[in-house]
């Protein structure tokens, strides 16, 4: 609507009134209205704004505003020692923090050329795949919530809780895990962890299948999600999609398979792909990935090699406390690590892992200083969220909400 100077001077209630009549007239005439989806709206699951132009229920165009929770992690990382950057990675995709943590550790290990044992690799795989399950569970159950099916959400959140308890056994934290160290883990899996993991592997499939049967072939759910926010494989690639969203569009790119890290080549798993790249396909791809992750965890756990739970890199891996108090060398290393005085080679590394939403990459440039000269995170959400307007144009508002939740846009990862 056009504001005139007279409107500006009019009392506030008058302004509102004229705005209301203007809007209703437009709607009746089939003209265009503006709708704000976000910044804080329960359906956006995070803080980002979409300014929609709608004709009735149909979306004509959308303009995005991002950056509401930008925390300048790349700048902060330029001042922190390497071991203090892990907590920053937690806060990118906070639904699957362990994957980001491990990705960062592996990047540094690549830079310093650390030799990592198979046991550490397998332990990492177990934690990372648990994180993937937790991430996908949240995403898929929330798709259910957004279609009006709350029940599944309550079922699987109990299981997610069990995964969080497993994290707790390993590192003491639940959401922002900061799990592991450069070189491995701070401690070995505890007996309690083994008990809880065995229990989880036994009970989870049953609950998950129940959740699956609630939605996967549900007539209402299928009608609701099929053809909602579709994208072709070609467009998805151009938009830089990775992860389940790309695979739902039919492209079988998975970092775990293409550039295996942390011994992923040892495990037998398939990469599920969709056809239409719509909400239903994204949902189904994530469902199957949960099953595959479970399969990987079983393989890794049953074949867990013997050995140490950390690499032999005293310059980077904190010595045990009793050594620090009783051994000169250990004390020196402890001091150097805590103060960030360990020499790091000059170099440039790009390392990527398959995160919950796709390729999580770390581009690290080191000038030999105590902190990175430049560290850039590849945040998959930030890159693929650009496609959102194209995906929802011509769709209804309720489809836009579904598309958003099925893309699993995580505000922390989006804004960096």
């Amino acid at each position: 609507m056009n504001w005139t100077e007279e409107d500006e001077k009019a009392p506030l209630f008058k302004q509102n009134e004229s705005a209301r009549t203007e809007l209703s007239k437009e709607t009746i005439d089939g003209e265009i209205a503006t709708l704000n989806l976000g910044p804080t709206h329960p359906a956006t699951h995070g803080i980002f704004q979409n300014i929609l132009q709608v004709d009735g229920e149909k979306i004509l165009s959308s303009e995005q505003t991002v950056g509401y929770i930008h925390r300048a992690f790349e700048k902060i990382a330029e001042r922190r020692p390497y071991n203090q950057i892990t907590p920053l990675t937690d806060r990118l995709n906070y639904c699957s923090s362990p994957i980001n943590n491990m990705g960062w550790h592996m990047t540094v290990e690549k830079l310093i050329g650390a030799d990592i044992s198979k046991r550490v690799d397998y332990m990492r795989v177990i934690i990372m795949e648990l994180a993937r399950i937790a991430d996908h569970l949240v995403c898929n159950s929330v798709i259910g919530v957004d279609t009006g099916a709350l029940t599944g959400f309550t079922y699987v959140f109990q299981e997610r809780e069990k995964i969080y308890e497993l994290y707790e056994e390993v590192c003491g934290a639940r959401l922002t895990t900061n799990v592991g160290r450069i070189g491995g883990f701070e401690r070995d899996f505890s007996p309690e962890f083994h008990k809880k993991l065995k229990n989880f592997l036994q009970t989870f499939p049953k609950v998950f299948n129940e959740f699956d049967s609630l939605l996967a072939r549900n007539r209402i759910f299928m009608d609701r999600t099929r053809n909602a926010g579709p994208i072709s494989g070609e467009r998805a690639l151009e938009y830089g999609f990775t992860g389940p969203n790309l695979r739902a569009a039919g492209i079988d790119y998975d970092v775990r398979h293409m550039n295996p890290y942390s011994s992923y080549q040892d495990f037998d798993f398939i990469i599920p792909v969709g056809v239409n790249g719509d909400t239903y396909d994204r949902f189904m791809v994530r469902q199957e990935e949960i099953r595959q992750s479970l399969k990987i965890i079983e393989q890794a756990y049953n074949n867990l090699p013997e050995g140490d739970y950390h690499a032999d890199i005293p310059e980077f891996y904190l010595p045990p406390k009793d050594m620090v108090y009783n051994n000169m060398e250990a004390l020196i290393y402890h001091f150097k690590i805590v103060m960030g005085e360990t020499p790091v080679p000059v170099g440039e590394v790009y390392h990527s892992v398959e995160g919950g939403n796709g390729e999580v990459g770390f581009h690290l440039i080191s000038d030999g200083g105590r902190s990175p000269y430049r560290l850039q995170f590849r945040r998959p959400c930030f890159i693929y969220y650009q496609a959102y307007p194209e995906m929802i144009t011509g769709q209804t508002i309720s489809d836009a909400v579904l598309t958003l939740s099925s893309l699993n846009v995580i505000a922390g990862e989006l804004d960096g």
Binding site: E238, Y239, E348, V349, H363, S371, I383, Q386, G416
Partner: protein
Amino acid sequence: MTQNSLTNESVFERIKAQFGEGILAMEEPYGMLTLEVKPETVHDLVKWLKEDDKFQVSFLTLLGGIHYPENTGKELGVNYHLHSLVHNFRIRLRAYFPIENPEIDSITDIHTCANWMERETYDFYGIQFKGHPNLVRILNEDTMDYFPMRKEYHLEDATREDKDDRFFGR
């Protein structure tokens, strides 16, 4: 698994034959082919890499800026990480330009996803991408009048006196 049928040498030779003068330097840190390219060549090179039948480097993984205040005449730069999904081959391109005139051609017409990444790079480093459809700030506030990732802006308040930075690295 996709076979890695391209080697750094063979790719570099073909690029060198095609662009010759435009390629300034080549290195292979940790195995990834890294080319320093003249800023005016980047657009053509990225386009050629994508359209070339042999390479099909059609996926833009990452794009970001970098600032070296001591490199006179080459203070600012842009890093491109490209990935050929067909051959599972990654390549990194880099172009530097002076801070007084940080301009480079936008590659949004080749890779749609470069749009936001270039906006982000502009937002943090002030690099102007010529031909970008909507080069405005994306993560920072619109009214911001400086480019925060440049090295002259320290993370902490420079007027602070209670902390001696000599003991804490940079």
